[in-house]
Amino acid sequence: DPAIIFDLGGKFDKSFNEAAYNGATRWAEETGNSFAEVELQSDAQREQALRRFAEAGSNPIVMAGFAFGNALGEVAGDYPDTSFVIIDMVVDAPNVRSVVFNEHEGSYLVGYMAAQTSKTNTVGFIGGMDIPLIRKFACGYAQGAKAANPDTTVISNMTGTTGAAWNDPVKGGELTRAQISQGADVVYAAAGGTGIGVLQTAADEGILSIGVDSNQNYLHPGKVLTSMQKRVDNAVYNAMMDGPGLETGLLVMGLGNDGVGYTLDEHNEALISDEMKATVDAVAEKIVAGEIEVHDYMSDETCPSLTF
């Protein structure tokens, strides 16, 4: 049986881990099989969980989060017959599949849409903590927004510096209000549980918000412009489907292979005109074709369109 290890945020974090969980349950429902799972409480448990599952015969073992990189690096060699799948990080080992997402591309798209929708030419970004991954989101978003309308101002906030930063909807809401008072009328949240507060406040205050990771459009129908979906669920689902002998190596999931993208469903269709959809889809195609180059913050750790 496969196993999945969730990061410290827990499997119900309303975004990243939850997407992974959804992928796994979808697999379980479709195949009727079961999987082992664990939510970590401590950093020391990363290696522990990997080893315990490997020793118990779980295969493949999927782990959600860049923080597993080190632990997996240590462990992978000890269990050559077990396949590992790590998401959001590259680990170079023969029995590891590394799945990374082009979050910047997806963020570029939703940034583009945000700027198109904005009447005030001001859009906001609210991140959980100031870490490279979140900068990657923010940077793509800002670039997209400026591409749609060079006059756009992008306001960016980080929630905090402790673990509480990912679970503070109240602060998320207050940051949203602060951005609204500075003119923002579309805000994009990449902040886990804090994002709940961002989306809520945006809906309350009559502006639009953009969800992240999972499709969060349903949370406030008609008030969430779209969600930057990161198909972690697909990555997990595919890995489990592929089973023990899965293909290893680097797997980049971007716009081209539906790894990232914006969401359009019954909850937000009224917000996105056909014209807008056409423009955005065209932009997406250009990105895939390489005509538009979206700057990846991680490539050189700079962000031309936003200062942190």
Partner: protein, 321 residues
């Protein structure tokens, strides 16, 4: 800085200060009666959960509020049992209560809503709506004060006004009523109360219960006033900040208002200026996020003298000759 920006920051500061104010006054009642309480955080958290859960299930934010208060009171009861009846260590009891709330909220949330410990989002009557104060619109034209009234004071939820009312009320109860006199006395010298023929235990339980009610209000405000659902650990350390504010305020009601407002304002300012470009250097966001805490230390060291806690605080009462 423009006046409007100032107003917006004040407005945000007031919202952020409200839960701190409730919790700070809660701590004030408890500690004035001689019972230290580092479990404010836990009581807020459990109330946040039960108020959101009940409001969602019943569709009534008022029932939610009651449930939040009731749950906070249960934890208060445990604290009272440990620290009053069984004369245990008040700090340990507080620590235990924080853990208990942190675990129980998610555990119960998981089994009730299957949403990973969160509650579903509250809508309509299941949450507090903002209230426009009378004449807010017509007065907004008055220069300076008008906008202050309509932008900052008006347009908050019911609980914000309750919190503000709690300040004079607390002052009145403490300094103008028999109960307040006895409560302050029991935190200073329980033996004096005991020999005067008044029950020390009864008074302390009453204080702890009031603390529970106020923490309940704080939690309910977080989940049903400011936010619209419960998210695990959503108190995010506010109970500890309230405790700091309490010491800052030297255990006095009006100062509690000022101290919590200061915390609220500092946070609002750092929200508004995620990173500050000073021309020569740009202060990084981490610095701006730490700024409220740094300033607190500076203010504390520079302007607030020594704070003397209630003399009998933290010590269980044992009769002695």
């Amino acid at each position: 800085m423009e006046y409007l920006t100032v107003l917006q920051i004040l407005d945000s500061g007031l919202r952020l200060a409200t839960p701190l104010l409730f919790a700070c006054l809660a701590g004030l009642f408890s500690e004035r009666a001689g019972i230290f309480d580092i479990g404010l955080e836990g009581k807020m958290l459990i109330s946040a959960f039960f108020s959101a859960a009940t409001a969602f299930s019943t569709g009534s934010v008022w029932l939610g509020l009651l449930a939040g208060i009731a749950s906070s009171l249960v934890l208060s009861g445990i604290h009272g049992l440990a620290s009053i009846t069984f004369r245990g260590n008040q700090l340990i009891s507080g620590v235990a209560i924080n853990f208990l709330a942190s675990g129980l909220t998610v555990l119960i949330g998981l089994s009730w809503f299957k949403l990973g410990g969160q509650t579903p989002a509250l809508q309509g009557n299941a949450r507090f709506q903002s209230i426009d104060l009378p004449l807010a619109d017509s007065l907004s034209g008055v220069p300076i004060l008008g906008p202050l009234y309509s932008e900052v004071l008006s347009g908050h939820t019911f609980l914000v006004y309750i919190a503000l009312l709690c300040v004079p009320l607390t002052w009145y109860i403490l300094f103008r009523t028999r109960f307040g006199l006895r409560l302050r006395a029991v935190g200073e010298n329980p033996a004096a109360v005991d020999t005067a023929g008044v029950s020390v235990v009864g008074l302390r339980y009453a204080a702890v219960a009031i603390c529970g009610v106020l923490c309940g209000l704080a939690g309910a405000y977080l989940a049903t006033g400011l936010g619209a659902s419960f998210v695990k650990e959503m108190t995010a350390g506010r109970g500890f900040i309230a405790l700091a504010a309490l010491i800052f305020a030297k255990w006095r009601p009006w100062y509690a208002l000022y101290a919590t407002m200061l915390f609220g304002l500092l946070e609002a300012i750092s929200n508004r200026y995620p990173s500050l470009d000073l021309g020569i250097v740009t202060l990084p966001s981490q610095f701006m996020q730490a700024l409220p805490y740094i300033l607190t230390v500076v203010i504390l060291a520079g302007f607030v003298g020594k704070a003397t806690p209630p003399r009998a605080g933290g010590e269980p009462y044992v009769k002695e000759r």
